[in-house]
């Protein structure tokens, strides 16, 4: 049986990454991560070991969604602040400066499109495409039927494509 410390070390990346991509802001992602991990500590005896990851991601998603609603209700202007690590292009993407710049620009706009994507599409795409979760696990986290998850993934991708189409449909990214 894993201890709390070991579990935190194992799952912190999933929690922080989800919050980071959902909120588009490292500082808010840190706040959410801390809040969620402390909540896990308070519920440590009640959460079964094999359910820790879905539990954490469900709580993280809810915490992020609450923050999103708070943002909308407040007059504070939110400025997206993408982690530079996220904007780094992947290895093997080519060393041509123009190509690298084009890809970095595409990634920046993709993240911006992701951050304005409606729920639950945003959560589903983060869980599926970035975090690599299976449909069944996403279904458990979001409490949605399996087929609904599949349909929402397609819709989410299509919405992203529509958001980016005007800018990139004539640009060759091959």
């Amino acid at each position: 049986m894993k201890g709390f410390e070991e579990m935190v070390a194992e799952q912190q990346r999933k929690v922080y990454s989800f919050a980071h991509y959902f909120l588009g802001n490292p500082q808010e992602a840190e706040d959410v991560t801390q809040e969620v991990l402390l909540k896990l500590w308070r519920n440590w005896q009640r959460v079964r070991q094999e359910s820790v990851r879905p539990w954490l991601l469900r709580v993280t998603r809810n915490a992020c969604y609450d923050r999103l609603r708070q943002r909308r209700s407040s007059s504070r202007v939110f400025l997206p602040d993408t982690d530079p690590e996220v904007l780094e292009t992947t290895p093997g993407s080519g060393s041509d400066p123009e190509d690298l710049a084009q890809r970095a620009d595409f990634r920046r706009h993709l993240l911006a499109a992701l951050e304005i994507l409606a729920e639950p599409y945003r959560s589903i795409l983060i869980l599926r495409e970035i975090q690599g979760l299976r449909y069944r696990e996403i279904s458990e986290i979001l409490d949605l039927p399996l087929n609904t998850v599949r349909v929402y993934i397609h819709r989410g991708r299509r919405q992203l494509r529509e958001e980016l189409a005007g800018r990139y449909d004539s640009v060759s990214m091959a």
Binding site: R13, K14, V86, E129, H154, D169, M173
Partner: protein, 195 residues
């Protein structure tokens, strides 16, 4: 009536593009869409964009939470629960049998280390004064043995003289004189002893 169109418009292709890329379309419909893509630049561009989005999303890195944040969480949870006792409190909280066992173990350890730390050394050479003292003591002992031996020899000699010379002489003399009774012939040894 089938849900699939007979002739695919661009809009219908875009609607089902994600399913095509996921391999979730029936083969007939997938083939129809592919043939549309071969002839339609706009839909072909849409397909490339869709593939780019999928590729870029999947290439986004998962990020580690900052280490100070995780440390702060552990400080507020696991480490906050650990008892913070002084050494005295910690030792005092141990039950008596543990103390006794620790004391015994410490004693054994000290003794063991002491024994192990003693290396064999060459025998010490006595100095002249010690030799002189030992010699004098040996001489005294020998002299004493000599005195005792001489005293023992004298005692043995006196006993032999009394038993073999004095008593027979007295008996012979009494018999000769005829003046002594049988009772008087028993001369006490003490008188002879003092000679």
């Amino acid at each position: 009536m089938s849900q699939w169109p007979e002739n695919w418009s661009c809009e219908e292709v875009w609607e089902h593009l994600e399913e095509l890329l996921e391999g979730e379309l029936p083969e007939t419909q997938a083939t129809q869409i592919r043939s549309h893509l071969d002839q339609c630049a706009a839909c072909e561009a849409q397909t490339r964009l869709a593939m780019e989005i999928r590729g870029e999303l999947r290439a986004l890195p998962e990020l580690d939470a900052p280490a100070p944040l995780l440390q702060a969480v552990l400080d507020q949870t696991v480490k906050a629960q650990e008892p913070r006792l002084s050494l005295g409190e910690l030792l005092g909280s141990w039950p008596r049998p543990i103390w006794a066992a620790l004391a015994a173990a410490s004693l054994i350890l000290v003794l063991g280390l002491t024994v192990l730390s003693q290396r064999p050394t060459a025998p010490e050479q006595p100095d002249a004064a010690a030799i002189a003292q030992a010699t004098a003591e040996a001489r005294f002992a020998l002299a004493r043995v000599g005195v005792l031996t001489r005293e023992a020899g004298l005692t043995i000699r006196d006993k032999a003289l009394r038993d073999q010379v004095a008593v027979p002489t007295q008996k012979g003399l009494s018999q000769f004189l005829g003046q002594v009774s049988d009772a008087e012939s028993r001369i006490p040894h003490e008188g002879v002893k003092d000679v």
